[in-house]
Symmetry: C2
Subunit: 432 residues, 2 copies
């Protein structure tokens, strides 16, 4: 299928800098095949008028748990450990596999509608998120969350994870990481086993690290090291690693993350909401760490909208550092796009608008108050846009949303199933 986006403003990389200019973009199959120059023999089935439109590379949500969208707003204003172990875990215990499928579709609906084209998911219900991705048309990197104590190659979850990875090979929009949950839920031997299996299978690791103060304090008490050092010692960083959170990190931790080329996913809303604080993002960037951006699950954020997250990222460090110069809109936009692509091993495939890359794009309206005047649109994306400016979304060359209508997901059915599920789980508010 050929698509032209004609004479639109577009964010394109020029010598490593994002620059906005007027361009026409040619898409054939799953790829961008031309920018401004129409390839020979190109045939367009669809032409999208670029007037008053801005084309951006699809945003990459580098850490989430999409199935948790059905737990949105069910556990607010609680401390991290109470949130996790007293509220979320008991709900998890009651979930049926298909609840996770509908939950993931809800999260994906929210992401598509706010311009995200790929997400990196850690989940607990084998085959459910992958099934939802196959249907939604999104691109995703998925891992099954792993927790345990011993070095046990017969671990049930471990083998479920490997089975899911094998099964997922049939969809080219799916890729996989290996997902030991966190140092406080994985004993040192279990974590080493995960690292060994990841190395053998050529997989990267997606792990939560240094999220709460309690985690760091307990780690120091029990193992006399930081969570980052604990993961280092278990061999985790010997494979490409995506570390979510990294809030409570020391200068030495930052050095380790940089040296071992760990990609860090910052999750500002979740970290604030659970009282974990602010990750030292400017310091990690200065040390050369590849920082990317994630929403975390909707149970802790409570949103899957990357525009909200770009807003938080672009502002909070200016507040904590009392300097407006410590992170720029341009840097935030890279963090939300190409840095996420690099973390997921896809820096050559997605994350920017370039000939030969996959056609993963979001098209935003510029004739709306939040984008007006159209004078510095990279700033507008971070400081003014809400995500509702996203008018159309193309993933892997397929038009997934057109004029805000998602073509691959039956929205009403999703809402119906989510409502029924919440009634069953007792999550619906009793007053109505």
């Amino acid at each position: 299928m050929g698509i032209i986006i004609k004479d639109a403003l577009a964010v394109l990389p020029v010598n490593g800098e994002d620059v906005i200019g007027k361009h026409s973009i040619y898409i054939d199959g799953d790829k961008i095949v031309g920018i401004d120059n129409e390839p020979e023999g190109f045939k367009a089935d669809t032409t999208i008028d670029g007037k008053d439109r801005l084309v951006i590379p699809g945003l990459i949500n580098a850490h989430t748990h999409t199935y948790m969208s059905m737990m949105r707003n069910c556990a607010d204003d609680l401390s991290f450990m109470d949130w996790l172990f007293k509220t979320i875990d008991p709900i998890e215990g009651q979930l049926r596999d298909e609840d996770a499928y509908w939950g993931s579709l809800l999260g994906q609906l929210e992401m598509i509608k706010s311009g995200t084209t790929m997400f990196n998911d850690q989940q607990m219900h084998i085959h459910q998120t992958t099934k939802a991705v196959m249907e939604s048309g999104m691109r995703a990197s998925i891992c099954r969350g792993l927790v345990g104590g011993e070095y046990d190659r017969n671990d049930v979850r471990l083998n479920q994870a490997l089975e899911e990875i094998e099964d997922g090979k049939k969809c080219d929009r799916l890729s996989f990481f290996f997902g030991p949950h966190a140092p406080y839920t994985c004993g040192p031997e279990y974590l080493r086993m995960c690292a060994d299996v990841a190395k053998e299978k050529g997989l990267g690791i997606h792990i939560h690290l240094s999220e709460s103060v309690t985690e760091s304090e307990n780690m120091m008490k029990d193992h006399n090291c930081t969570p980052i050092e604990y993961a280092l010692n278990a061999g985790v960083f010997d494979v490409p690693t995506i570390a979510a959170h990294c809030v409570q990190v020391t200068p030495d931790d930052i050095k380790i993350l940089a040296d071992k080329k760990v990609s860090v996913v910052t999750n500002p809303a979740s970290n604030m909401k659970l009282g974990n604080g602010f990750a030292p993002v400017p310091e990690m960037m200065a040390a050369g760490v590849n920082v990317c951006l994630g929403t975390d699950g909707a149970a802790s954020n409570n949103s899957q909208n990357m525009f909200r997250e770009m807003g938080y990222l672009s502002l909070i460090h200016k507040g904590t550092h009392k300097t407006p110069q410590c992170i720029s809109a341009k840097e935030v936009f890279k963090i939300a796009t190409i840095n996420g692509a690099k973390a997921l091993g896809k820096g050559d495939e997605i994350g920017s608008i370039e000939v030969g890359k996959k056609a993963d794009l979001a098209i935003l309206r510029l004739d709306v108050p939040s984008m007006m005047p159209n004078n510095n649109l990279l700033a507008a994306l971070c400081y003014s846009a809400s995500g509702s400016e996203v008018d159309s979304v193309i993933i892997n060359g397929q038009i997934i949303m057109e004029k805000r209508e998602v073509k691959t997901i039956d929205e009403e059915r999703v809402y119906f199933e989510i409502r029924e599920m919440c009634k069953r789980l007792g999550l619906a508010d009793k007053t109505y």
Copy 2:
């Protein structure tokens, strides 16, 4: 004109607490005349189906400069004093009066589309914001920004302010404050004169206080006091005062603000963006200060969307205080509604859905991903909503927006005028 909103979920105050339940709301003329009980002889010209809808009191943006919306994204990532004196002031100097009119309409469009029904504006162009409000149908409290050194009752700006107030009496949606800009732009005698005139005329004062570190340091060097003490000494707090920002405040300052019943408007996005930091909101609330919420102008925020602002307010203090309990979604919602009404002297008229109050309402869609599941909607308003859920807006009993179409403002004309203006002022990006 009679309007029924039939069988909708609605946020209503019950014994001082916001509670959500299913209700029908009856509107006649500019007022809410019934909730659940249809008044005798009531005739509806319009019935709004409440299925999948949430009705909230319109949000109150308690500190902004709407005309500055035309300067959105023109001065980012600069220090406060460079932002104000090197970038914004030179643009201000080139503005024609009608630029301020179109700028204000742009800001009001953005506010209406994100559920704000009243704003408190400090502006520099006499008659322009008032003219825009008369046309838009919004409710507003307006003051002309005043700067000067001497005790001079013949001051030009002072008399412009008084003239505008006189002229504004013809619109019942308009009210006025008196607007000495800030301690760093008003000498002690000028500020005393403003306080005296406000007292004589029965007006409140709307002032910027303790925004930047530089302001506080200079004040201590030059006057050996804090900006709050400076305003206290000039007699400002002898009239009802709305103090914007109050970021750099001491425990003694907080005591003064509480004792003198000063309403504080916190502007989290602007304070972060300009590197001013975080106002001690939980501490001010604990001291009994009436805290309300504002966006500040779009030149520093860069948004007029109060949902963004509720998101920031609900999260940043959990981050700085490392505790999720220090401010709740319920408190944030009050701050964005009834507290603003009280600050503006309108606590009996607006800020909540009650029989006898003005019909200033926003109606949100619940059948959208960000509000799903519909299980704790006050949390959803703060943590998940982007503002685009707002489907219809009623102000003073008039339907101002219906299904996202604003009926009082010609959107395309506003965008055209803003674009022309930005070209003339050299604000349009040169690359496109």
